[in-house]
Symmetry: C3
């Protein structure tokens, strides 16, 4: 215990310095307490009416994660993950605004975490979208969740995910409303029920903000190996908006890569009536285990039924490297 207290609260600069010196030979071993990982994604994107841009299709990032066995099948786990815009080197939001959590997991009892992480509702948007939730090919969890229910990521969150029970898992999360007068930490809850067996994968999720704004989500996929069709549907209200969002698409292994295509739409039931229809097809070519080049073509009709209606056509062409 005294060892722990020392390492927790330190005991003077010299001790630290000497510690660093004396134990420098085990720094390699210490490093194994944490894994440094990340992704760099960069592409050229061109949509009609917009200039050619350098941007990214999935979020570039770097992070730290680790786990420690606590005995009895329990592990302490943590992740700190930072989103970056690799075209400029800037951070996207807070330094560890993608993931910042600490928790425990057990194969029999599931995973409990505290901090900032992705929300159950968002998982349905990302798990059943051939294009992920970023880039020109996806309406995105961004578009859906942020405008509808602030359900992408929580601050001050608690997250519990069950182990698989006959193929079923439940993932529930709640955000504390610490400051009643602001809107950055409203009381938000979300729960997802997922069923997976063989190639079958189905989810239903529910999220609500301040017991007022609500979103219901459905997702479905079947992996036939030669092709994996998938679909999702969301219906929600948020700050006066009232929208439905659906998607049908597939992924399919083709050559040394994967083909992905989806047709998705947003039906705006508010007076704005700003509907959107998006079709996109893309291909990820694997250069190696950790590097792909990718291309996507998209036809995106935005603001349908409004005077601002615009039909954007375009492409993205880029590269992604995991480390």
């Amino acid at each position: 215990v005294s060892l722990i207290r020392k390492s927790v609260f330190g005991s003077g600069v010299l001790a630290s310095a000497l510690g660093a010196v004396l134990f420098s030979s085990v720094s390699g071993a210490q490093t194994s307490n944490v894994t440094l990982y990340g992704r760099v994604d960069l592409n050229y994107t061109k949509l009609s009416g917009d200039p050619l841009q350098m941007t990214q299709t999935s979020s570039s990032r770097w992070g730290l994660r680790g786990s420690e066995s606590l005995g009895g099948g329990w592990n302490a786990i943590f992740t700190l993950e930072s989103g970056i815009n690799a075209d400029t080197g800037s951070v996207s939001g807070n330094l560890f605004g993608r993931e910042s959590w600490l928790g425990v997991s057990n194969r029999n009892f599931g995973t409990l975490r505290l901090g900032r992480s992705l929300v159950p509702s968002q998982r349905v948007a990302s798990n059943y979208d051939p294009h992920g939730t970023d880039g020109i090919g996806s309406l995105g969890s961004g578009g859906l969740m942020i405008t509808h229910a602030a359900l992408t990521r929580f601050n001050n969150g608690i997250y519990y995910e069950t182990p698989s029970m006959g193929g079923f898992t439940v993932f529930a999360a709640h955000q504390l409303d610490e400051v009643k007068t602001d809107t950055t930490d409203e009381s938000v809850s979300s729960v997802r029920l997922r069923f997976q067996t063989g190639g079958f994968d189905a989810s239903v999720a529910y999220g609500e903000v301040n017991s007022r704004d609500k979103v219901v989500s459905l997702g479905l996929a079947y992996d036939f190996k030669s092709i994996k069709p998938m679909m999702q549907f969301h219906d929600g209200k948020r700050n006066g908006d009232d929208r439905q969002h659906w998607l049908v698409g597939f992924t399919a292994p083709v050559g040394a890569g994967e083909l992905r295509a989806a047709y998705s739409a947003q039906n705006d039931k508010s007076p704005k009536n700003a509907d959107r229809k998006l079709f996109a097809i893309g291909y990820d070519y694997s250069l190696s285990k950790r590097t792909i080049v990718y291309g996507t073509l998209a036809s995106d009709r935005r603001g349908l039924n409004t005077t601002a209606a615009v039909h954007k056509r375009g492409f993205e062409l880029g590269m992604r490297h995991l480390f």
Copy 2:
């Protein structure tokens, strides 16, 4: 030497790229030049009158540190340490605002460092506080030093710590006043004399800002193994404030963890007369070598003798993981 110049100033992109490629097999070895370390601490805190919050009892952090033998018993040492708020993933202050220094150390001649680091006066506050200097159980170096003498951490600092001389160590530090017209880098000096032998540990420290504001600190502890009683006392003036701060407490190994308790008080001798009395008791339970769960109960009477007097009672319950 030419090798060093090349690595210091580089010589073209291709060289760097090829270097990265050709030497990628030794990247593991290069990694041993630096140790990546940190801590994630998250808890639920509830004080009467405040909402339930997710926060941390000690500062979550990540950092880089390393040392290199220079021969003759000398080592070059550095640390870059970043404080984070794990409930949101945000950085607390400057990126490496906790520690950012470079120096040399020698077992016979001590440790000399330049940059940003903790101040000798602050060490007395942290070394003799059962609750560290954060969380609901501690008045904190924050409360004491920042309002009294800006003596928590320096920018532009020089730090020298002697080796142990018959149990005595001296730690002295000075901050350069680079910009005479602002208050972020005032001329600050602090020195601490510490004596340690067996379980006995005593310190006296002195700090001053612009030769005007001053704080004197005393600390005392004795580790009987079954219990480690400790106390500290500070008396200082800062920007018109005039305060005394004292603490008595102990830590004791109990079961697979450690009990900690302290009674501390702040005596405000200025016309504000805003006294404070705090009692807190807590327990750290070790789940493993690097993970604890902890709980603290506190009774905190703030603003005594003023119309804003308030008695806050509450708890914190959380988890801390070192990596």
Copy 3:
């Protein structure tokens, strides 16, 4: 492919958590996908008329870099590099504002990268300056490039560097002008031709901004082993300024270190007529493979021919550690 899609887009928190747990034994191996590196540089600088300051002669930094073999002699390569001010622990600019790029390299076909990196014109300033481009001894690429042609680093850049062809290399780069109405991402192009053989090293570079502001650069060095004389010249226009910049100097191995000296001048041909003449001599003493101490003396006459003319004399004395 399905493995790649899974790792690229993830598949639920529990999978990630279990992944972290199950594969924690190979976290050391995973770490070899990325090298963590950096530099801490801190010194005392004093120029006549200015207060003594703690600052740095070269930029302190930390970064992540890695490479992965793609087969056929190709490698995927990336770098994310962060500049820091080690005297305060603050970040200098964007988090990865020094380097943020992804690319491929091949010994026969060269290196192609996307993102943010140094510009060909800047390389001439840094490769032929005994003092690098920072500190009191150098007019700096900063002084020259930023005021003349925004040619230090690009956002949204594409960079191609040929392999050596009989000693010749070409390095060309272009920055996309994404937002026509702002000045942070103007259309900038730069190309450098370099010839190296034996100890001989010569470069010519050209850079232009919006087809309007232009800078031409020349650099020359010869390494006689006992001494390496070098020179550079730049002539450019930028936003109404019209300047020439030249330098002659040398580096020479002396004892366990390196002597460096340069005389440089700026000739301002605009009505401001703010010429500058700088002489500096310094010495880098190697304490070890990765640590030096250094000192520089400088005589810097700024604003010659203007009423603000000032002659600054001074020194810098510091330490630099690579990790």
